[in-house]
Subunit: 130 residues, 4 copies
């Protein structure tokens, strides 16, 4: 599992890391039940502080993507991960709305917008199958 962090980005490192781990799970690069590096090991590998990795792990645990096994350490949730909850839909809507407003204001049609989304979906699927 290759991680690339952009230290210049305005997106916090712990979030970049979170998203890339989720991507790994989404594309199947990280299988259910698979072990993740220990906070210390991962931090060293990535050249960041252990607390930053810890924060990422805590968020992922909270969302149900990973579990902290007392013997195996951190593992990808072997059962089904988090689903589309009511809470998640609300959050998604909140995040999506301002983006769509700006797209709309710039004259983008909903078809064009959906096409972009579909394209990203397809990329993920291909990665998963590839």
């Amino acid at each position: 599992m290759l991680i690339h962090l952009d230290f210049q980005s305005d997106i916090p490192i712990y979030l970049q890391l979170k998203m890339q781990i989720i991507e790994g799970i989404a594309t199947g690069k990280l299988k259910p039940g698979e072990s993740l590096p220990s906070v210390r090991q991962f931090a060293e590998d990535l050249g960041i502080n252990l607390h930053t990795v810890n924060k990422t792990y805590n968020l992922l645990k909270q969302d149900g993507f990973i579990l902290v096994h007392r013997q195996k350490g951190v593992v990808v949730n072997p059962d089904e991960g988090p689903k589309v909850t009511e809470e998640y839909l609300t959050q998604l809507h909140t995040e999506l709305r301002p983006m769509i407003i700006e797209a709309f204001c710039r004259g983008m049609s909903k078809e064009e917008f959906n096409k972009i989304c579909s394209q990203i979906f397809l990329e993920l699927k291909e990665k998963g199958e590839g």
Copy 2:
């Protein structure tokens, strides 16, 4: 033009304000050429800091949504506003990608996702016509 700011939100006020002005333009509540309050006036009305309004106006000006005349004050761009530039598309893709990854990981299909987007588009259109 009614503005509602959420001081509890983790979205900065200057961004909330920016999005709502863009929404006003998108839905036609703010017509091209229409005047916006002065920085000072707006800040007082909203009960926020003068610098915050300033930051919002600067961003909107930079994107081409508004014009700042030395004499006429701040007005909505009377000509056509910003379009779908290459740069904008890149940014949109960057913002959309992590959201779609998580949606995908939670088992949401691209059809479901597109449906949510379409719905938001329709809401905007209705507001514009209503």
Copy 3:
């Protein structure tokens, strides 16, 4: 609002602090909408690190006991705080069960146990009214 921390206790400081703030809210010593000290100020007053206070505040925010207002800083949730959710009931049950098992095993009757609970409830009520 007087806080007493036991640095020898095996209960983490951030949890001790959390419980005492909740107690303050429960007994009315902290009114809805009232401000709490800034992380730095509070940390200094208590002689602990700012991150510890931060962790406490984050937990309380997550549970809905407090809000982080961009202007006023940290305040007690002015609207109704968190309620008895399904999730909370599950957690309560999980925490209560082992305690009751041991009490049962030591020959304590459910009447005796309930009496102790009721007593604690009454203490809280009196504090709230007093």
Copy 4:
């Protein structure tokens, strides 16, 4: 005696084990004088570390739930087990208080709270008789 350990739980394994043995005694699944597996055997059966079982046994011995004979091995205390001591009451109060404070703060009445406790007591009794 069936033991189920949750390696994902934030409750240490040695405590989970302790509670389940106490529950066995409480419900009569473990009779006074009955033998418990040796540390080594138990650890192997449960797939956990030998030290973990040891720690559990030490705690149970300390509380008077079990006896450790040099020759007979580990047995459930054949005489009456631990009672409601002054010390135990203090500890119980200390553990119960923060839980009740939060329940109170969430608007739970002492009747509702007692009902939950009573329910757990009844479950135990039924298990004991069943």
